[in-house]
C-alpha cells in the first residue's frame, strides 16, 4: 500500500513537471480593440492570430505551442500599461507584442524594461520609442518610424519638378515628427525647396475647409500630408470639390497610409485619384513576391474577405520576428531572445527585414505609389506599388 502511495505521490510531483514542458509559450497582445483605433487594431490582431494558428499547426516552436492573449488598451496609454502589467504579473506571459499609438508604445516599453520582458512594438511609429535615452535591451519595433516615413516621402518629392512645398498634418506628436523628418530630408536632398505653408489642424478636426483654403492661398506646387486613416478621408472629401488637388496638379503625397486599400474603398470614386500615398500592404500588389502572394491567399481565407485589410501584416510580422528569434535562441529566456532579435533577418511577406542591433528597429519600408483607377476594382489602387526600403536613410 505504501509503495502505491509513494508512486502516486511521485506521479503527482512529476505531473506538473510534464505539464510544464508542454505548456504553451504565452504572448500578451495589448492592442486597441475598441473605439476609433480598433479600425487598425482588430485587423493587426487577426494577422497575429493567423500566424499563431499556422505555427501551431506545424507543431509550434521549440516543441511548444503559442498562446496569444489579446487585451484591449482602449487607445489609452494608462490602460495599455495596466493591461501589460496584468499580462505579466497575473497571466505570466513570456513576451509582449502589439500596441498601436505612439503614446502606448513608449508606455508599455517602460513596463517591459521594469519586468525584463521582451516587447515587440507592432505599429507605433514615434522615434521616441527607440531614442538613445529610451532604448533598452527588451524593446523592439517592426513598424516604420516617423523618420523613415518622412524621409521616404522626401525621397519621392525630391524627384518632382517643384520648389514651393506645403505641409498639412495633425497637430500632435506623430504629425509633427513625421513632418519635421520630411522637411529636413527634403531640404537636404533639394536645397532649392521652399516650405511656403504649414497647416496644423487638430487631430480629429471635423472641418478642414478653412485649412484647405488658407493653404491654397499660398499657392504651393506640392503638398505633404500626414493626415491618417479616416482623417485623410474626411480631408480629401472636403478638399476635392474645392479644387485643391487640381491646384497642386496632384503633386500631393499622403503618408500615414493615405493610400491603404481601406481608405480607397471608403471613398470609392470620391478618392482624389492621381495623388501619391503609402500603405503597409496591398492585397493587389502587382510586384509582389511569391511569398506575399501566398500570404495574401492565406489571409483571404483566414479573414473570409476577398480584399483583405492592409493591417494584419503588422501583427503577422511581429509574431514572425518573435518566433524566429525564439527558434534562434533555442530558449524563451528574455535576454537570450533579445540577443537573438538583434541583427535578426526574417523573410517577411513584404520582403526581407532586419532588426538593427544599433537601434532595435526593423528595416520596415512601406509601399508607395501613384493612385490610379483600375477597371478591376471599384476603388483607387497604387500602380505600380513600389516598396521603398528605408535601409539607406535610417541614420
Amino acid at each position: 500500500m505504501l509503495r502505491v502511495l509513494t508512486l502516486f505521490a511521485v506521479a503527482l510531483f512529476a505531473l506538473p513537471f510534464n505539464a510544464q514542458a508542454q505548456k504553451p509559450i504565452k504572448v500578451g497582445f495589448p492592442m486597441i480593440l475598441s473605439g476609433p483605433g480598433a479600425l487598425f487594431g482588430e485587423p493587426a490582431l487577426k494577422g497575429a492570430q493567423m500566424y499563431v494558428e499556422e505555427i501551431n499547426a506545424r507543431g509550434g516552436v521549440l516543441g511548444r505551442k503559442l498562446e496569444l492573449l489579446p487585451r484591449d488598451t482602449k487607445g489609452n496609454a494608462d490602460e495599455a500599461v495596466r493591461v501589460a502589467r496584468e499580462l505579466i504579473l497575473k497571466e505570466n506571459v513570456d513576451f509582449l507584442v502589439g500596441t498601436l499609438t505612439s503614446a502606448e508604445g513608449p508606455a508599455v516599453s517602460v513596463v517591459a524594461k521594469e519586468n525584463k520582458v521582451v516587447f515587440i512594438a507592432a505599429i507605433p511609429k514615434t522615434d521616441q520609442l527607440t531614442a538613445p535615452d529610451k532604448l533598452h535591451p527588451y524593446v523592439f519595433r517592426v513598424a516604420a518610424t516617423t523618420t523613415t516615413e518622412g524621409r521616404s516621402a522626401a525621397e519621392i518629392v525630391a524627384k518632382w519638378p517643384v520648389t514651393r512645398v506645403a505641409t498639412i498634418s495633425p497637430d500632435y506628436a506623430y504629425g509633427q515628427d513625421v513632418t519635421k523628418a520630411f522637411v529636413e530630408h527634403l531640404k537636404k536632398l533639394k536645397p532649392s525647396v521652399e516650405i511656403v505653408d504649414q497647416q496644423w489642424p487638430k487631430l480629429g478636426e471635423a472641418d478642414y475647409t478653412p485649412f484647405i483654403n488658407a493653404q491654397m492661398a499660398k499657392k504651393p506646387e506640392a503638398v505633404f500630408s500626414s493626415l491618417w486613416g479616416g482623417h485623410f478621408v474626411t480631408f480629401a472629401k472636403q478638399a476635392k470639390p474645392l479644387g485643391y488637388f487640381d491646384g497642386v496638379k496632384y503633386n500631393f503625397i499622403g503618408v500615414g497610409e493615405a493610400a491603404s486599400p481601406e481608405s480607397a474603398k471608403t471613398m470609392g470614386k470620391d478618392y482624389p485619384v492621381g495623388i501619391w500615398g503609402n500603405t503597409y500592404d496591398a492585397f493587389y500588389w502587382d510586384g509582389a513576391s511569391a511569398a506575399h502572394k501566398d500570404y495574401t491567399a492565406r489571409l483571404v481565407k483566414f479573414l473570409k474577405d476577398e480584399q483583405p485589410s492592409s493591417w494584419p501584416i503588422q501583427g503577422y510580422i511581429s509574431m514572425q520576428f518573435l518566433v524566429e528569434a525564439i527558434a534562434k535562441a533555442k530558449s524563451i529566456d528574455a535576454d537570450k531572445v533579445s540577443a537573438a532579435l538583434r541583427g535578426l533577418t526574417v523573410i517577411t511577406p513584404s520582403g526581407p527585414m532586419t532588426i538593427r542591433a544599433s537601434d532595435h528597429n526593423a528595416t520596415r519600408g512601406q509601399l508607395y505609389g501613384k493612385t490610379v483607377m483600375d477597371p478591376k476594382f471599384p476603388f483607387a489602387i497604387l500602380k505600380p506599388a513600389q516598396y521603398v526600403a528605408p535601409d539607406g536613410f535610417m541614420d
Binding site: 480598433a38 472641418d207 486613416g229 478621408v233 470639390p241 474645392l242 479644387g243
Partner: protein
C-alpha cells in the same frame, strides 16, 4: 495682406463649418434649455445618424433620391431612439441630482458606441455626395462646393423655422415656458412629461440629422461621436447653454474664429477658439446670450 476673394472664401469656409456645428449643437442646446440635462450622448446620436444614413444608402442604392430619403430616415430613427431613452430611462432621473443625469448620458455614450461597433464594425465608411450637389461653383473668385452652399442654406432655414416655431406656435410657447418654470407650467395643466419627451425627440432628431448630413463630407468611423461633442460644447458655452440664438451665434463665431485664427496662429489651430471660450467664461459664465443658472 490677403486679397478680397481669399477673405471671402475663408469666411465662407468658416460659415460652412459654423452651419454644420449649428445643426448639431442646436439639439444639445434645446434639450438643455428645456430639460436642464447636459446630454453627453448627443454626439453619439450624431454618430448613429451617420451610420444609419450609410446603412439606408446601402439598402436604397446610390443615386436618385436615396440620399435624401436616407437622411430623413436616419434622423427619424435617431429621434425614435431618443424618445425611447427619455421615456424609459432618463425620465426616472429627473428627481435625482444633476450629476446622475450627467453620468447616465455618459453611460449612454459608452453603451451606444459599443452597439454601433457591433452593428457596423470598425471599418471606416463613406457616402457619396448626392446627385446634383457633387461639383462646385465660383463666387467672387472663390471655389464653393454646391454641397457647402446647400448646408449653409439649410442651416439658415432651420434657424428660421425654429425661430418661428418657438415664437409663434403653441408648442413653442410651452417650450419657452418650460425652460423658464416647469413647475408652474405643470400646475397650469400642461403635460410636462409629454413636452419633455417631445423636446428630447426633437433634439435627437437634430443630432441625427446633423450626423446624416455630414456623411458626404466626413468619414463615418467609431469615435466621431466624442470628437464632435467637444466642439458642440464649445459652441454652446460661447453662445449660452439653452439659448437658441446663442447657439447660432456661438457656431458663427466658432467658424469665423477658426477660419481666421489659423492665419494668425497656424501652429495653434484651436487656440483662438478656446481662448475666446475662456474669455467668454470669465466675462459672462452663462454665455453670450444665455441666462444665469439659478
Amino acid at each position: 495682406m490677403p486679397d478680397l476673394s481669399f477673405v471671402f472664401a475663408q469666411s465662407l469656409s468658416g460659415l460652412t463649418a459654423a452651419m454644420f456645428l449649428f445643426l448639431i449643437a442646436s439639439g444639445l442646446s434645446l434639450i438643455f434649455g428645456v430639460l436642464r440635462v447636459l446630454n453627453f450622448a448627443h454626439g453619439t446620436f450624431y454618430m448613429l445618424g451617420a451610420y444609419a444614413a450609410w446603412q439606408l444608402v446601402q439598402w436604397l442604392g446610390a443615386g436618385g433620391w436615396s440620399f435624401w430619403l436616407a437622411v430623413l430616415g436616419a434622423a427619424s430613427a435617431v429621434a425614435i431612439v431618443g424618445g425611447l431613452v427619455e421615456r424609459f430611462l432618463l425620465r426616472h432621473l429627473y428627481a435625482e441630482d444633476e450629476l446622475y443625469q450627467l453620468l447616465f448620458t455618459y453611460a449612454l455614450v459608452l453603451v451606444l458606441s459599443d452597439v454601433a461597433k457591433i452593428l457596423w464594425g470598425t471599418q471606416q465608411k463613406g457616402v457619396a455626395r448626392p446627385p446634383g450637389l457633387e461639383g462646385a461653383t465660383t463666387l467672387l473668385g472663390a471655389t464653393i462646393p454646391y454641397y457647402n452652399l446647400f448646408i449653409v442654406a439649410l442651416g439658415l432655414a432651420i434657424a428660421g423655422l425654429f425661430w418661428y416655431v418657438l415664437q409663434r406656435s403653441r408648442a413653442g410657447r410651452f417650450i419657452r415656458a418650460a425652460a423658464l418654470d416647469r413647475e408652474t407650467l405643470g400646475a397650469l395643466g400642461v403635460n410636462v412629461g409629454a413636452l419633455y419627451t417631445g423636446v428630447f425627440v426633437l433634439g435627437s432628431f437634430l443630432g441625427g440629422l446633423g450626423g446624416a448630413l455630414v456623411t458626404p463630407v466626413r468619414t463615418i468611423v467609431p469615435g466621431m461621436d466624442t470628437e464632435i461633442i467637444v466642439e458642440a460644447f464649445v459652441v454652446v458655452v460661447i453662445g449660452g447653454l439653452g439659448s437658441f440664438w446663442g447657439t447660432f451665434l456661438g457656431a458663427l463665431i466658432y467658424g469665423q474664429v477658426l477660419a481666421f485664427g489659423i492665419l494668425f496662429f497656424p501652429r495653434f489651430s484651436i487656440f483662438a477658439v478656446f481662448a475666446l471660450m475662456a474669455a467668454v467664461l470669465m466675462v459672462r459664465p452663462w454665455g453670450l446670450l444665455g441666462r444665469p443658472l439659478k
